[in-house]
Amino acid sequence: MTQRKWRVFPGNNRFYCNGLLMSSTQVAVFLFVIVAVIVTACLFFAFDCRFLIQYVHPGTIPLALIGLLGAFYVLMFLLKAGCTDPGFIPRARQDEAHYNQGLGEPDPNTTSTGYVGGTPSKYRTVEIHGQQIKLKYCVTCNMFRPPRASHCGLCNNCVENFDHHCPWVGNCVAKRNYRYFYLFLVSMCIMGLYVMSINITVMVLASRMVGFVNALKTYPATVIEFFISGFAVIAVFGLACYHTQLIATMKTTNEEIKNTFRTSQNPYRQHNVLKNFCITICGPFPPSLIDRRGFVKDEEHHGVDYGATNPIMMDPEQRSMQDTADTSSQLPLTTSTDNN
């Protein structure tokens, strides 16, 4: 029984082409954005570029080529941002979950507030560049969330370097696709302004030939493009500026909103602004951790059943014994031998 891992992936995601591509479950807005970009690009080539080349000067062909290249980048960045694994952290299997529980420090505050029947919420403190950072235990993923990771409620999985869940690209924006998202914002901004400036040029030149009102009637596509691009630029420009500032200070939106570093220095910050940009945009490409095209091993298959048995706090002695027992919940805890 060999099953690809994407089939048993517990988060809220859709997979296509046998796990090659993935997206979140809400893709309507994402598809709308793709269609809007393609339609605008087609109108731009079919009307504006043709007008410039035919009626103005054949030397304007490079303007069309720049548009083609720009459209390619916008679409590629958009598709990459939407269809890349943002950096999901695979959930811990039972054996590891038991072990992880033993690492936590009991938290006195949570015993009074919640988790009556289940696991008490726990923390673990680690030191990063000399700063104490609290890692929270994720009850869904059965592990202590790594620093900067957060659990996305929509994707229902922990994500590394969580920035935000973006409805426009229909995906989480995090460690693995942040650069695509940022490049999409910037390229969209530039291309929007580019298309708008060509639209204005076409309108001015056409007005000289046939008058403004007739120009509007003859080239309605130019007017449509102008409004789509204008809307896109308005929507994206502020966001692009905001993320430029975040990259310069090496923060995520999540940390900025929660004001994580109000009392302490950001321990993840690099040396200078230029280096921060280089690392974010041209730095190493971390691999996908969920191995969605890999095959499920038998041992893992048993561990996938997360909800039913929430691991309980045990002392290390008992923990190790439970690890050796295969389907642990049925067997008594005192079984200390593994008959192999």
């Binding site: 390619f72 980048y73 590629m76 960045f77 990459k80 952290i89 695979p90 811990a92 054996d95 590891e96 072990y99 992880n100 690492l103 680690v126 030191e127 990063i128 560049h129 950072i133 592990m143 790594p146 620093p147 900067r148 370097n161 650069r179 695509y180 490049l183 321990p267 993840y268 280096k275 280089c278 690392i279 945009i281 041209c282 730095g283 190493p284 490409f285 971390p286 691999p287 951790l289 969920i290 191995d291 190790s320 690890d323 050796t324 200390s336 031998t337 593994d338 008959n339 192999n340």
Partner: protein, 132 residues
């Protein structure tokens, strides 16, 4: 407590975050391995794994150049070539296999590929003889 027959135990070597979120594993020697393998051999292994991951995540002009090139091709280049990071994770997996084969296995210790656990930890399977 009386024990009969061999039994096994899993431990998970945790990440060391003291240098930030870069992938590093703690080279602190786990008590469970005492008497099975030497402390030096264990630390050597973890150090080598850390070096491989440090190289995978290193920032230098060559990496920036590769990143820029990939960006200029609209990241289509990644359909054809493996990233430097992927090569490094594969190298780490090969290294661990080698260490298992040459040193650990005969002492009843089996180290797993950290990628199997999402780079959160390294799984170590220890088999004890029953008579201890």
């Amino acid at each position: 407590m009386e024990r009969s027959g061999p039994f096994s135990k899993k431990i998970f070597i945790q990440r060391d975050y003291s240098y930030g979120t870069a992938v590093r594993f703690s080279s602190e020697f786990p008590q469970e391995l005492r008497g099975k393998i030497g402390e030096r051999e264990f630390q050597e292994t973890i150090d080598e794994i850390n070096v491989i991951f440090e190289e995978a995540e290193a920032y230098n002009c060559q990496r920036y150049g590769e990143g820029c090139l990939a960006c200029l091709t609209g990241y289509t280049i990644h359909f054809c070539f493996k990233t430097h990071y992927q090569k490094c994770t594969e190298r780490a997996a090969r290294y661990i296999q080698e260490r298992n084969y040459h040193i650990f296995e005969r002492h009843g210790v089996l180290m797993g590929d950290p990628m199997d656990r999402g780079l959160r930890c390294i799984e170590v399977n220890i088999t004890y003889d029953g008579d201890q």
